[in-house]
Amino acid sequence: MSKIRLLICAVVVALSLPSLSQAFVDDEACLMCHKYPKMGRVDDEGFQKAYYVMPEVFSKTVHRNVPCRDCHYFIKQLPHRPVKEGVRCDRECHSIENPSTGKPFSHKSIYDTFKKSVHGREKLETGLDNDKPYCITCHTNPLYNEEEEAPPKEITDRCVVCHEDEAFAFKWYNHTSRRIREVKRDTQEIVELCSRCHADQEIIARHKADAEATGRELGEKYTIAAESYEKSFHGKVAKYGNKQVANCLNCHASPDNYYMSVHELLPSRDPMSPVHKDNRVKTCRQCHKTADANYAAIDPHPTHDKELNKFNYYAEIIYAIVGDVALVLLVGLSLFETIGRKRDGVSWVLRNGTTWRGRSRRKRK
């Protein structure tokens, strides 16, 4: 009998091995359906939606310990009905405790900061606010923070002296070391991220038309933000692959607390904005140590647009005309000269000590 029990246990263990390999908690068996790659449907608007969760990927994300229904709280039954609500990032996690406060973990405080920023929006928006980014637009939870294969032994050996649970020590190490290392996007990635909306001509046109219709004040550089950055010195150097050069956030987020500030981006007309005219010198000085008011006057979003910068617009035209005219005149002069000299009998090669072999075709007076 005990042998049979042992066999049953072995079979149960063997059958549950695939799920044991998943490092995250799936107590509510959501993966029962969502583990299938073809799980999805075409929605009412014709978009194909994929509901497939890759367990081996999710198990490496920062949310791997959060049960699905902590975020997808609106699911009350299984199989659940079509979902109308989105996941809001300001929800409290009932299963995860914030170790610093002992309260349920929540992104609410940073979420509130974000809502006050120029990008602030609700999860579900209609109209122009729907163009704004939500948390997951930027926080794509990518794998660049993939945990190390094995934490350094000389460190974890020290942890387990008191923290007997080795797995806890490993997790703690991964959690802290990842935040100490620089894991934010590099310059090119940030420019790319911001450009996803700020270079989208349809979004720009929508907001411009609305601003004109309602009299709402639009950012001075809003319509050319991405394209003018690309033409600027910063943009060019960033494109060349330089990692130190200023990207969007280096100027538009406050250097006092970069990580907080990227969530509370403000238009330049707001006195709290690092690119407000009163704060520009300080912002420039992050990199350009000797920058003064004159330096801060340099336009980091140069444009030749006639409405936005008449000076540049006409300068560009004058340059083009002067260049073309100079070239045409000089080449014309050379041709005219050649015709005149050829008429007098000059040839192309100096032979027997002279190039003047041909007979002059001039009419002698």
Partner: protein, 339 residues
């Protein structure tokens, strides 16, 4: 040949400045009177050595030209792939050099060499001018500085090319075309250095400019650097190279930039006034020209009349006498020939 007013002026100044002796002046007077009125007869019949006959550029100028054109071309070849870094040809070019960041370092290093070449040029040109002034041998007409005569020369030359006049104007050591080119290059160099330095040292440039103009200045510099570079490259490719390599009479190459010498026919055609100076200072050139004119039967038919009309030689002989009288009792009349 009866000398023109311009020639009278230039030659008269040269004879005094270089204290040409009475004997040399006698010889010069004779050879000048033998020259036919139609200058084309002279430059069409002289013998020229392709690598050059008559001295024109010192070794300093030749080194500066080499430095400037090598740095200029390399700057253009590294600058264009930086500016057009997305272009299909720029990507492999930058990759070969090690990426656009490396191209930028090379570009800036070359720029320093070009600035060095400019400084070298300024030192030699200013130093040489001061030296000539000290020796009393400076003549603005012989320098690269533009004078009113250049405008007249331009009009006269256009008239010749249009077939409306028989001869090209009598031009000096630097003709109008070369003066335009020199100052265009000088202006271009300054624009490139100022705009290039405003990219490397923006804080400096903006600290010396009024705040209202600081932004416009940077914008202008950003526009100027590629525009001026492209213009310079096109002018060099289509104009300068045409003039010194492809134009009839210059093909396949003028050797002046290497040997420092100009062919005789070129000097007589385009720099006749400088050729008169060569005749005044080089007895062997006078001997050659005399022999050529006689052997080809080109001696001016109005030789004796012309000789009487060129008063400047008499004036110079008079001046030599006066100088000798002033120095009488101390030194004999200087007879050595200028080197």
């Amino acid at each position: 040949m009866k000398l023109s007013n311009d020639a009278n002026k230039v030659l008269g100044t040269f004879l005094r400045q270089y204290k040409i002796s009475a004997e040399d002046v006698n010889d010069l007077e004779e050879i000048v009177s033998m020259m036919p009125e139609d200058r084309r007869q002279i430059y069409k019949n002289v013998e020229s050595n392709p690598v050059g006959d008559l001295f024109r550029y010192s070794v300093h100028i030749r080194i500066q030209h080499l430095l400037t054109f090598t740095t200029f071309l390399l700057l253009a070849f590294t600058g264009l792939p930086i500016h057009y870094n997305d272009a299909f040809w720029a990507v492999p070019f930058n990759d070969v050099l090690g990426g656009v960041e490396v191209t930028r370092v090379i570009h800036r290093t070359l720029a320093a060499w070009m600035v060095l070449s400019m400084v070298y040029h300024l030192v030699t040109v200013i130093g040489g001018t001061l030296q000539k002034m000290t020796l009393g041998q400076f003549d603005i007409a012989r320098s690269i500085l533009p004078v009113m005569k250049d405008a007249r020369d331009f009009v006269a030359d256009m008239s010749y090319h249009a077939g409306r006049s028989e001869n090209r104007p009598e031009m000096d050591k630097f003709m109008y075309k070369q003066k335009i080119h020199y100052f265009a290059a000088a202006f271009g160099n300054i624009v490139m250095v100022v705009s290039g330095s405003s990219f490397i040292f923006p804080e400096f440039w903006n600290s010396v400019l009024p705040a209202d103009y600081a932004s416009h200045f940077q914008e202008m510099m950003r526009l100027s650097h590629p525009h001026e570079a492209l213009l310079a490259l096109l002018v060099i490719a289509f104009w300068h190279w045409y003039n010194v390599h492809l134009a009839p009479g210059r093909f396949p190459m003028q050797w002046t930039f290497l040997t420092g010498k100009l062919t005789r026919e070129h000097q007589i055609e385009e720099h006749f006034l400088e050729y008169l100076r060569c005749l005044a200072s080089l007895p062997e050139e006078r001997a050659y020209l005399r022999e050529m004119l006689v052997s080809k039967g080109l001696v001016s038919v109005s030789k004796d009349i012309d000789a009487r009309q060129n008063f400047l030689f008499d004036q110079h002989r008079q001046w030599v006498k006066e100088q000798a009288m002033q120095e009488a009792g101390q030194e004999p009349v200087a007879e050595e020939k200028p080197s």
